[in-house]
Every structure is written in C-alpha cells, then in structure tokens.
Symmetry: C2
Subunit: 212 residues, 2 copies
Amino acid sequence: MSTAHAIENLRTALSCLPGVGPKSAQRMAYYLIERNREGARGIAAALMHALDSIQHCKRCNNLSETELCSLCSSTSRKHSLLCIVETPADLEAIEQTGSYKGSYFVLMGTISPLDGVGPDNIGIERLLEVLKEFDIEEIIIATNLTAEGETTAEFLTELLSTKDAASNIRLTRIARGVPVGGELEYIDRNTVARAINDRQEIDHKQQEPENS
Amino acid sequence: MSTAHAIENLRTALSCLPGVGPKSAQRMAYYLIERNREGARGIAAALMHALDSIQHCKRCNNLSETELCSLCSSTSRKHSLLCIVETPADLEAIEQTGSYKGSYFVLMGTISPLDGVGPDNIGIERLLEVLKEFDIEEIIIATNLTAEGETTAEFLTELLSTKDAASNIRLTRIARGVPVGGELEYIDRNTVARAINDRQEIDHKQQEPENS
C-alpha cells in the first residue's frame, strides 16, 4: 500500500458522512492533513464537544445542550401551539421565517417502511407524553410533503384522533400550493390542483396572512 | 438562536471541508450527532491520529507515517526513475495502474500565479535536494494537463535544464492523446491535434506498451 495508514483510516472514517463517496473522502483527507491542519483540529474538537454535550430536549425532542432547549424555556413563545417537524433542519427553516411563535416537536425522522423505519423508530412515544403533560390547543403537522412525510402526517392524524389526550386539540396541516415566486406553467399538476382546491378567501381589508 | 451552540460550532468546523457549503455542513452535523455517533467518534479519532502521525517522506515528499515512506524504502522499485506528480492522489492514480515501478516525487501543489502559488510554495527546493542526493537517470514529469500543471511542467523543464545536478538526466513528459475508450468525434480539438502530432510507431512484433 502506498498511502499512509493514518490517511487511509481518515478516508474511511470520512466516507461515513452523508453525500461523501470514497473520492471526496480522499480529497478531504488530503486537504485536511496537507492544507488545513487547523481546520482538522477544529473539526475533531467540535465533534468531541458536540458528542459530549448534545442531548435531546425533554419537551421538543430537538438536539440541545440543556435539558430544556432555549425555545422550550422561552417565555415569549406560545406553548399551547405545537408544530411537529421531521428534523432539526426543518425546525430551523421555520424559525428563519420569523413568522411562527409557537413551540415545536421534532420527530427526528419520518415513517419510511422501505427503509425499515416504523412509528416506533421516531419520537412518537415522546410526543404522546408531551401531549399528556402540557396543555396544547393546536397541533400543526409540518412534516415534509414527500411520500414519507405524508405517510407520517396521516399516521399522526389517525393516532391523534383516537387518543383521549388529543381529543380537544385542533389539528392542522401546513398549506400545500404554489410556492411563492412560482409560475403555474412550470409547477407540477398535483400542486396546481391542490392550489385550486385549497383556495383561500381573500380578505378585502387585510390581504397579508396573519402571523400566528 | 434555536440551534444548540455545539451543533453550530460543528457546522462551522465542517464547512471548512472542500466542496462542503453551509447546507451540507448542517446536514453532516445533524447526521453525525443524531444518526451516527460511532462514525463521529471515528472521524475525530482518525483526525487526531493523522495529525499526530503524518509527516512528509524525506525522499518523495509524500505524506507518510515514517521518515521514509513504504515506496521509497522498497527494494523492489527502480529508484533511478523519478516520477514527479502534483498530489498524493495523483501518485495513487498511477500506483493503481500497477504499470509503474519507479519512485515518485510529490510536489504537494502546482504553480498557480492566480492563486498566489509560486515555485517557492511547492516542493521544488526539496526536489533539487533529492536530485543532488540520489542517482536519478530519468525524470517523468506527470503533472496534470491543466493550465497550472502545464505551467509547472514548463517551469520544471526549464529549471532542470539549467541545473548541473540534472544535466545527465533524461527528462520526459507523460503522453498526451486520446484517452483509452475515447471517440475522436467527442474529443476536443487540441487533444486530437496532439494525438496526431505525437503519433507512435507501431511495433509489429509487440503492440502492447512496455511496462517501465
């Protein structure tokens, strides 16, 4: 073997990253060791620190350094409104809009029978505990509009309709329709059909949607 | 901020990787902490080990865990033949053909005035020392056929032609032409022109190229 063992090990380790094949892993390994040792040290330290300090928030199930994450412990959020998302990245996407002031629940996955992920493998158990423990008025199901996300949304709808704990809770789903900036000509048929079916009353006095 | 600090740090650290933007870095960070803690530990350990153990081979300048790398210390290689490559990955590419049995010199870069990389920033100094110290009969310049690789090849040719240490050394460049499997119809004009100009005599008795 012409490559040093340590480089070979590093390449193997890096190829566990999502979207990184053997060639990219090799490029990264050489780059880190030859060109950016400071960066390499940074990654190693950040990894060790994250592994040591990150746990799940006991209310929203998101990754957090504290038992209760900053969102869940914030007094300025409306905790009776619960938005269910698949991943921390989805939560982040909603937070970045600045238009949602309720709390979240992060499933940390999505039901995907093809990948062997069932309801027991995502945070549903914990969600039911949260519903028992806290006073929730509305649940917004904000799983993705992919096949897996829709399956998960349907499962949640069914589950929550049959649970006593959720009997008085309003259940909503994020709106499906033409994305902002979208042109009907280039949008798929299902989306256009959904946008027609789910058309919204225009309020003549105030045309902007209300923030919740 | 809704994201845990440790995740944010990890994302920043990972975005120093080549070809990894903020979105990919975020995806990697979540993946490592949520789905593959074992992999995360593996990367941190491999990085620390590589940082501690990897140095440059004192002969070929390649990354190595020992003062002299396995290729340079091998007795089955022809050390009077020296192949100059840009990077360890290029060396690897040649090794994988199994058709080259000489030794190497790894420049660890390429002359690129636009990026502010001059001859002093790559391993030329060390190359001259190697030429003084060892008995070299032929140097194969195997830098890439990119603008930077060609510039580096020209610089090396000029440098080695004026050095006493290299006066008796045969200087060659890897062949340029139509890649194996290539169809003339789809190959760029320069390559076809080069393939015509550099045409090779056909040896009627033995048509396969000799291994060196």
